[in-house]
Structure formats: C-alpha cells, structure tokens
C-alpha cells in the first residue's frame, strides 16, 4: 500500500512538467510544499475579508462564517472522499477509485494531501461570496460539502490525475485556473441562478441598484492577502523546491499587477469612476488567469494574460448585471470568465510552441468540459437543496440580516449607524429561534 502511495505521489509530481526540474532534497521539497500549503490556507482569510467587505454590515458575519466553515467541513470531506476520487487509481480516466481516508501512508502523500486540501477549500469558498446575503447557512454548507466531495474532485481527476482523460489529451492547467477557479465560479453561477437576486437588487425595469459593501478597506486587505497567498498557490504547485518557482511567481506578480492596471485603464477609457472593488477584482482576475500557464509562458505573455484577464473581469461583471444575475463579489467574472481566458492563454502562449492549433483546441475542450460538468451538476445540486431544505433565506431573514437570523449575532454591536433597525439592544429582546 505504501509503495502504491509513493508511486502515486511521484506521478503527481511528474505530471507537472517543471516539478522535477531541480533535484531537490526531499526534506527541502516538503518544507516548501507545507509552507505553500499554509500560504494557500491564508487565502481563506483573504476571501473572508474581501467577501465580508463587499457585503452589507448586517450580513458581514454570515459571510465570514461560511468561509470559516466551508474550509473546516471541506477539509474533512476531501480527506475522507474527495482526494481519493481525484487522485486515486483512475482506470476509466473519469474518477479515482482508492486513496480514501488516507491514514497510514508515506511522507510525500501526506504533504500532497495537505496541499490539495487547501486547493479544494479554495475552489469551494468562491461560491460563498457570489451567493452572499440571501443564502441559508445550512443549505450553503450542504452544497459546499457536495462540491468538495464530488464535483471538484471528479473534474480534478480528469486533469490532475495522470490517468485523467483531459490529462492524456495534454490539457494544461498548471495550478488550476480551470480546475480550481472555474469550478468554483461555475458552481457559484448555478447557485445564484437558483437563488435569484437579493431583494430589490434590480428595479422593475431590470436596472441594477447599487448595494455598496460596508467596508472597502476589508476588500483591499482581502485583495492583498489573496495576492500574497497566490505565491504559494502557483509557486507551490511545483510540489518541490524547484528553481522554476522564480519564473512562476514573477509571472504571478506581473499578471496581478497587469490585471489591476488594465481594469483601471478600462474605467478611464470608458469614462467611468475607478472603483476600488473593480480594481481589486482586476488584480484577482489577473491572478486567476495566470494560474494555468504561470509555469509555461514567458513574463511578457504573463503580463498580457493578466491584463486581458482584468478587462474580461470588468466586462464580464457588466454582462452578469445585464442578465440580472446578482453576484455580490463578482466571483463569476473574476474566477470563471478570467479563469477560462487564462486556460486558453496557457495554450496560446506556451513557451516554444506559441499559438499551436492542437494545444488551443485541447484547452477549449477542457474549458467546455469544466463548464458542462460543473455548471450542470451544481445546478441540479442546488435545485435539489432548494426543494429539500430551501436554499434561499426567507425575506424576514433578509430584512433582519443573516448575522442575526442565522447566528443570533451582530457584526458591529457597539456602532449604531441609525440605518439599521436591528441594534444589539433590540436583538437581545428578540426571539431568534
């Protein structure tokens, strides 16, 4: 059994073309892998801050709680089930069949499991921001469990399992523009379709109403923390302390900066105000876009990929609003549209094989496969959750705010702005069962 795990871990390392570019000491490799895992874990804090800041104050805690608990439940279910489905023996090319509940194994498997758990948690937490302010807490967590246990690992097994059908086609997604970010975004898209918009988000003519987040400093801090964590996300995907990390993280930095800059310039060109939320999302879109090809393209293309990612994100968010889809944090455009673009860019700008038709076709197949599998399965899942237990919080809960109705807590009990009826003193006397 141990031998099989070892072979498996090696196959994962091999799958990344740059993984063994340097023959590092296994202990050093492990230190880097575990450090990168911690960096990716920190991204949860980034998501929590960003999503919380973009929500209204009466829903601030609820968003953070969703982020907090989906990583906890996701960790357990990914260890028990998801990892095996994703990385277990995969004779069909469609699904892993062993490595469930890993207990007695070799060091490299433990390290890879830890790192991959953080990836799974990242994928699942993307939906929480898009579906914020009107989703029932328990229903959201049931969805998050299913995504981490089934939807994410099955698609992951097609790409990151050495025997996966997309892997065999030569699909490139180094650190998960599609596997992690698009999966998260397409589940979020399904969720917001089933949920519908927040009360009054669109007027009767379908024009969007501005619902400003309550703390834009949180949004900026969340953006910085996500950016910082991304060095572990992309750099750690070598799964070894390799010299290639320099290029990978340089590309990461360039793409993020280009994404934000392009987003800002687009606002200038379109004669619109330069919004902080849009600019931060531009940098995140740049990061998402470069994730697939950060190890396989030169810096100039990384900057271009990031810049186009930023533009795609801004325009995608506008498209979503035109379609009356209420994505609170812009997750679908930043992670979905930019992720799809970045995956395509990884095929277009592949070093030494630029604009190869076959490679681009394979990338398009992977992008389409991800959308079809993830969106359809998530749509069915959220529909079932809605029927069985109710996905959308009642209007009374939206009126109170989900902090109070779902958790019997208030985010800012000492600050009464006068804009919300539910003060801490009032909440003390309310029957919140």
């Amino acid at each position: 059994m141990k031998k099989m795990h070892h072979t498996f871990a090696l196959s994962i390392l091999f799958f990344s073309p740059f993984a063994f570019a340097a023959d590092g000491d296994p202990a050093t490799d492990m230190i880097w892998l575990v450090t990168a895992s911690a960096l990716v874990f920190l991204m949860q804090a980034g998501f929590a801050l960003l999503e919380c800041g973009m929500s209204r104050s009466k829903n601030a805690l609820n968003v953070v709680m969703k982020n907090y608990m989906d990583v906890c439940l996701g960790t357990l279910i990914f260890w028990a089930l998801g990892y095996g489905l994703m990385f277990g023996s995969n004779p069909s090319g469609l699904i892993g069949t062993d490595l469930f509940l890993i207990n007695d194994s070799d060091p490299s498997t433990y390290g890879v499991l830890l790192f991959q758990t953080m990836f799974a948690a990242t994928a699942v937490t993307i939906a929480s921001g898009a579906m914020a302010e009107r989703t029932r807490f328990d229903a959201y967590l049931v969805g998050a469990l299913f995504i981490t246990a089934v939807i994410y690992p099955i698609f992951g097994s097609w790409v990151w399992n050495a025997d996966g059908w997309l892997a065999k086609l030569g699909f490139i997604d180094f650190a998960g523009s599609t596997v992690v970010h698009s999966v998260g975004a397409w589940t979020a898209l399904a969720g917001i379709i089933i949920l519908g918009p927040r009360l009054g988000r669109f007027d009767k003519q379908g024009r969007p109403r501005e619902l400003r987040g309550h703390n834009l400093t949180f949004v900026a801090l969340g953006g910085f923390i996500l950016w910082f964590g991304w060095f572990g996300f992309n750099g750690g995907s070598t799964l070894a302390a390799s010299t290639d990390i320099g290029l990978i993280n340089l590309n990461t930095q360039l793409a993020a900066a280009a994404g934000a800059t392009a987003s800002m310039l687009l606002a200038v060109v379109m004669r619109r105000p330069i919004l902080l939320t849009e600019t931060v999302n531009g940098s995140i879109a740049g990061l998402v876009a470069i994730t697939a090809g950060c190890a396989t393209m030169l810096p100039v293309y990384a900057a271009l990929t990031g810049a186009i990612g930023g533009v795609v994100c801004t325009l995608g968010a506008q498209l979503m609003l035109r379609m009356r889809l209420d994505d609170v944090v812009g997750a679908v455009s930043a992670h979905g549209f930019a992720g799809a673009w970045g995956t395509l860019a990884a095929g277009m700008f592949y070093t030494g094989n630029l604009f190869d038709g076959h490679l681009i076709t394979v990338q398009l197949i992977g992008i389409a496969a991800c959308f079809i599998w993830t969106f359809c399965s998530a749509l069915i899942m959220y529909f079932a959750i809605d029927i069985v237990m109710g996905l959308r919080a009642p209007a009374q809960h939206e009126q109170r705010g989900l902090d109070l109705s779902e958790h019997a807590e208030i985010g800012y009990p000492e600050f009464d702005s006068g804009n919300i009826a539910y003060t801490a003193a009032r909440a003390t006397n309310m029957d919140l069962r």
Binding site: K58, R198, L199, G200, R201, D203, K204, R209, E210, L211, R212, A395, Q396, Q399, R400, G418, N419, I420, A421, Y422, R426, N429, M430, D431, R433
Partner: protein, 212 residues
C-alpha cells in the same frame, strides 16, 4: 389541516400537549406555537416539539408528544378541549392586552414608515400591499381591517392579531419597499420608523421586538 381555523388548530395543540405539561407550561407552549408555527405546515410540528422539549425533562417523550399532537390535529372540533384563548382567566386577558399593544405598535410603525415616502409612491405602495395581502390567506377580520386602512377609510385596528402574523405583514411591506425604493432605502425607512415609535410611543417599544 391548513383549512382549519386558527382557533381549532390552537385547540388541537392545547389538547395534544395537555397530558404532558402543567397549565403554565402549556400556555407558554401554545404561545410559542402561535408566534412561530401557526402559519407553518404540519411537518413543522416536529421542530415545534423539539423546541418545547429542549429545556424540559420531556426529551425522551418527543415521539409520543408528536404523535399526540398529530392525533389531536386530526380530531374533530367537538372532541378538542376549549380554546385556551377563549376563556377569561388572567393569563388570557394579559395575552389579549399584549396582542392589542403589538397591533398598536404595528400600526404606529407602519404609519411612521409610510410617512417617509412621498404621496404618489405611498399610493402605489398601498395598492401593491393591498394586492399582496389578497394573495395571503389571512383571517377575514384582519384582511378587512387592513383593506379599510389601506383604502384610507378607517384607522388601523387589528385587535388581537398574533404578533407572528403582524411580523409577516411588516415584512411584506419591507419587501415592497425593497422592490420599489431599493434595499438601502428600505433599511433606512425601517430604522427611522422604529426610532420614531421608540421616541414618540415609548410604551410600545417592548412590542417592537416581536414585530421585527
């Protein structure tokens, strides 16, 4: 089941719980049902039973209590005990006063909220609220009182309407505010309305909690 009157369903709850609780606990449990479960389907009785057994020594009798309630719900009206709200004992009178005050608080809060909206918008909201109320299966007396009020013909007098129902009516108005003026304005209007009732009618303040 849902076609039975509120009074009959309350009697069924009272009858079903009677063998398990003393009078004080029984009335408290009936109040909890009125506030939280009166408008819910029978399936919700399971949660209701879980609620009332939470802090009592009845945990191991949950299944028996649920069966007893379901049995009572299926019984003919003539077999049920008298409506606990129909008598003239002290607790019933107290409840009557409480409901009346909750209704008063509701009326003042609604007026305070409506006064923040301009006339044409107010007229539109009244019509939409009127239409929304017709969709709901409200007790006839309450529906008529609301309709008379919305038509500006008479002051709002809801008598002993249960607070849970008033809470739903308030929420219905909040939803209309969100749709017509946006959720940010709706929150502000609600907050100012509550502040107005607090300052102008401090005696009604304790009843606001049951409406919000």
């Amino acid at each position: 089941m849902t076609k039975r009157s509120l009074s009959d369903r309350r009697r069924a709850i009272y009858t079903g719980l009677n063998p398990f609780l003393d009078e004080a606990a029984l009335l408290k449990a009936v109040s909890h049902w009125e506030n939280r479960y009166a408008d819910q389907p029978s399936l919700a009785l399971q949660r209701y039973v879980a609620d009332i057994c939470q802090n009592t020594g009845l945990k191991d009798k949950r299944a028996t209590i649920l069966r007893s309630l379901l049995h009572a719900m299926g019984q003919d009206s003539t077999e049920l005990l008298a409506d606990p709200r129909g008598g003239s004992n002290t607790s019933t009178s107290t409840k009557h006063v409480e409901s009346a005050s909750a209704s008063q608080a509701f009326a003042e809060l609604m007026l305070a909220m409506m006064s923040q909206v301009d006339d044409s918008q107010q007229h539109k909201l009244r019509i939409e609220l009127f239409a929304a109320l017709r969709q709901r299966q409200l007790p006839l007396t309450i529906l008529e009182a609301l309709q008379r009020w919305l038509g500006n013909r008479e002051p709002l007098e809801l008598g002993t309407a249960p607070p849970a129902l008033l809470q739903k009516l308030l929420n219905q108005y909040y939803v209309l505010l969100c749709e017509n003026l946006g959720p940010v304005n709706a929150d502000k209007i609600l907050a100012r309305g509550v502040q107005h009732v607090q300052t102008q009618h401090p005696k009604l303040d304790p009843f606001l909690a049951s409406l919000l």
